[in-house]
């Protein structure tokens, strides 16, 4: 299942529409029937801002539990989606300041524990990955027909609340019940199905005569069982949660697909007047090109560990990059993704390590060292490097010898290394000045194969009415390791290699001609899709959609000096723009 949708516009600092003043929505305030009371396990809502903003519809009982709200926990992104839905469909009017305050408050008081959020961090990080909820594949299929399953797993609710969520879907989307994979099967009544089962007949593909539960009932039961309102993790975290102490210097280590590693430093400062607010200022460099980027950002931390920021406007950074990061409980490491693009498709995987007084090693510009080589140049990035460094101070482990310190600066060491012929193949940790980073390089003998990542890419047509979504591919070298056999546990990922790129037809159907229409693949591995809209040159005036192979060719030099081309490929789906922005604007507002 492809999990990534359209831009989630969850930039809490500026994105909530400028609508004015909380007041009641269209229906009259409820006379709350007993069935509408928050459950006994409901979490009290004590923030007066939330009570004022939401209280005209969500009434509060004598234990400060608000209907619906108290029976739910969610990530900041999901709370924002709810606020957006309240504004767009229920006509709630909130100032941006109030909306932001409500999202912050609910994310803190009715959020997810770190252990609960870590597994679905890809959702907030807007990653395009292949993810299936293994807890129940039927539920996975049912929900992911329309949106990411990660969006569902970002929620915790009581059983009644899961039921009401399903009801909301059925109210706004009349076709969702549809018999073909929808919430309900239709067809004959359960009694007939039961009779068929009694006669020993399994259900057919339409679901007739099979299980008694409707698909939506099964999903409700699965979700309420596996994602309940109250969990041990949340009970523990909600007691331990506090404002993280993040001010100070941090070393940046990152990786941009197709562009390679980035390293740099940034400073985090407390942001005056903003609860759990921070600003950053820093600089990083793309190792392969030497391009240096300066940037500032501002952020808010939700639920004590969820960093949500965006770049601050500056002449070289128009404020389009967003930051979604996970603060580790030890307060010394932050991981996540910085991203931009109409579909959040361009990004850098980021790790921040706190810098104190000791040296911190972030990584190296090369990711693989070949055996039987001399004077391989390696640049080591980090912070607090001393002015004087001896070769013996730098340790790559067995078989890799530092023969020369070429240069030093506080943020980079340049060294030359020799790799012994008999150096054991495999990853090497790098230690310097008491700081160790695991496996920045691997030792190998030769490139046995290459692979293309992502193995399943997706691009969206655009450029006329809608923005496009390009897809960046990269080729990585592979060594088969000590056993010389492919696809075994000792295979080594050698990192980015330079290749020739081309497209090939993915002949899933006869007379497939997609390659003529889908777009162009540059020698950088960047695929740029064709324009959106019907194309009169295609049969049926079809859009320029299609699927193709993305093929990389690497010329490997054999032992006898001959050049042997190595090939690898990935599948690329080129599809239509995201016409309906389900993620950020419910029902096409």
């Amino acid at each position: 299942m492809i999990t990534r949708g359209r831009f989630l516009a969850v930039v809490f600092s500026i994105s909530v529409p400028a609508l004015i003043v909380a007041r009641a929505q269209t229906p009259a305030p409820a006379q709350r029937p007993p069935s509408l009371a928050a459950s006994d396990e409901g979490i009290p809502v004590t923030d007066p801002v939330v009570v004022r903003a939401c209280g005209s519809c969500h009434t509060r009982d004598d234990k400060q539990r608000m209907t619906r709200i108290s029976d739910r926990r969610a990530t900041p992104e999901n709370w924002e989606l709810t606020i957006r839905r309240m504004i767009s469909l229920n006509h709630v009017q909130l100032t941006p300041e109030v909306a932001r305050a409500v999202i912050k408050s609910l994310s803190d008081s009715h959020g997810l524990a770190p252990e609960e959020a870590r597994a679905i961090q890809f959702e907030a990080e807007r990653r395009l990955i292949d993810f299936t909820y293994e807890g129940d594949k039927d539920t996975n299929t049912l929900c992911s027909r329309c949106h990411s399953i990660g969006r569902v797993l970002s929620e915790r609710r009581t059983k009644d609340e899961w039921t009401r969520l399903i009801a909301m879907h059925r109210y706004y989307y009349p076709g969702i019940d549809g018999a073909s994979g929808g919430f309900r099967r239709g067809g004959p009544p359960p009694s007939a199905a039961a009779a068929a089962v009694a006669r020993g007949r399994a259900g057919d593909q339409s679901g007739r005569g099979g299980e008694q539960d409707q698909p939506m009932d099964k999903a409700r039961d699965v979700l309420s069982r596996n994602f309940p309102l109250i969990s041990a993790e949340w009970t523990a975290w909600s007691a331990a949660m506090r404002t993280p102490k993040l001010a100070g210097r941090w070393a940046i280590a990152g990786y941009a697909i197709g562009r390679g590693p980035v390293f740099g430093q940034l400073t985090i400062a407390d942001r005056a007047g903003v609860a759990d607010g921070f600003t950053t200022e820093g600089k990083f460099t793309y190792c392969r090109t030497g391009e240096t980027v300066s940037r500032k950002s501002r952020a808010i931390v939700y639920t004590g560990y969820q960093w949500r920021g965006r770049s601050a406007d500056s002449s070289d950074d128009p404020g389009t990059w967003r930051e979604v990061e996970f603060i580790e409980r030890n307060g010394r490491q932050i991981t996540g993704r910085w991203f931009t693009g109409a579909y959040d498709e361009t990004g850098i995987d980021i790790t921040l390590r706190r810098v104190a007084n000791d040296p911190v090693v972030s990584g190296t510009d090369v990711s693989a060292l070949r055996t039987s080589t001399s004077n391989q140049r390696v640049r080591i990035y980090g912070a607090n490097f001393p002015a004087t460094v001896q070769p013996a101070d730098v340790d790559f482990g067995q078989g890799v010898k530092i023969v020369r310190i070429v240069s030093t600066s506080p943020e980079m060491l340049t060294v030359d290394v020799d790799v012994a012929a008999n150096a054991r193949l495999g990853p090497r940790d790098l230690s310097f000045g008491g700081s160790t980073i695991p496996a920045p390089v691997v030792v190998y003998t030769k490139i046995d194969a290459i692979k293309v990542v992502p193995v399943a890419g997706m691009a969206r047509l655009g450029g006329l009415k809608f923005p496009n979504r390009p897809e960046q591919f990269e080729a990585r070298g592979v060594s088969y390791g000590a056993d010389g056999k492919p696809n075994t546990s000792d295979d080594l990922d050698l990192g980015l290699v330079n290749v020739r790129w081309n497209l090939e037809e993915y002949a899933a159907t006869f007379r497939d001609d997609d390659i003529q229409f889908v777009g162009e693949l540059a020698q950088s591995g960047l695929f740029t899709p064709n324009v959106d809209g019907p194309n009169p040159k295609r049969s049926g005036n079809r859009n320029n959609v299609g699927d193709v192979w993305v093929v990389a060719t690497y010329n490997a030099t054999s032992a006898d000096g001959s050049v042997k081309p190595l090939k690898a490929r990935a599948h690329l789906l080129v599809t239509v723009p995201l016409y309906m922005d389900w993620d950020s604007r419910e029902v096409g507002r």
Binding site: Q25, T26, P27, A28, P29, A30, L36, C57, H58, T59, T67, R68, R164, A167, M168, R170, Y171, P174, G175, D177, G178, A179, R184, R185, G186, G187, P188, P189, P190, S191, A192, A195, A196, R199, G200, R201, A202, D204, S206, R208, G209, A508, T509, F510, R511, P534, S539, G540, N541, R542
Partner: protein
Amino acid sequence: MKRAIGFAALLVAAALGASLIAQTKLPAPDNRLTGGNGTLYIGGYPNLIWMIDEATEKVVGTIHTKAGIPRRLNLTRDKKLFYVIDATQEVVEVVDIASKTTLDTFKLTEGSKRVRINSIEPDPTNRYAILLTRTDVKLTDRVDIGPAVLLQYDLKEHKIIRTIDWPDGQERDQANLLFSPDGKFLYFLGNEILIFETEKFTQVDKWDLSNLEEGLGQVSVSFGGFGGLDTVNDQPGFLTTTLTIEDPVQHRRMIGVARIDLNKKDLDFYTLGPAGGVTIVLAPDRKRAYGLESAVGRYEFWTIDLEQRKITSRAEFAGRPRMAMKTSSNGKVLYIYQAGNTIDLYEAGTYKYLRTIELDGDVTTGFYVVPRQAVGATK
């Protein structure tokens, strides 16, 4: 610039020449194969029903719907009216085909009570209609989803005559409804066909198709494909459709043809081959049916001889990932349509691609092929 003027002069000269030739010669007879002399009706975006002349394959008229984007067309038995359900499933529009005008619209939604109309079946006299509905109520902080409800609705008085009880109290979300030709019975079409009398709408009979014969195994009968049930080519009181079985011993799935006599509660069936994603449409002569198989990467036409009870030919063709099929009024052309704004024409006898009809907007409903002489006739 000179080149442009010269080219324009050439074009004018060529046009004049062509005009002179046209005046001096009789028009060549149009020998191309066409679908007949009927009319295609198909709903589309935005808010219209196209009327396409089969002979010329041109849009000869449009009916503009007032209720919004048409999502479902229901052709009355006399082929004079369409009952159109809009995309929100809240509004029904009654359209007179001859005058291309809207005769009536109605909806049951009131305020925060939203009534979705999933399907409609007017009685043969158009006095009332049976509506399959579901009522959803928006409350202050939640919505309540009601059960599927079957209503008898007075089309003139615009009021609900009665709520029809579900058999055994078991609601159904989707139902294909069909009146008997004389209007005395209402059929619920599914693996279990329920038969209601139409005075008080009590169930008078039940017919379980899933249990046809011992040893036959699991049986599934489909009614209506994209766009719903189309009985234009069927003899009144009969339905010809596909049937799928899974035999209880080898567990092989096979597809076949079922001809159902609703009046006699009789079903004549036979299997044709392994089950795939095949839908069939009946030819106007009722002696043949055409199958459309659509699997990933493989699209096939089938011809089924209903008298010989066998497939007489199959052939792959360049289909579409999402498509549906209709037969032309003379049975000689197959229309492939559904997603997009085009209708592809294939010769039924050879499966040869003929032409494509291009529309000004995307198709949003199923379509009907109405023979010229059929309009107004109830057969």
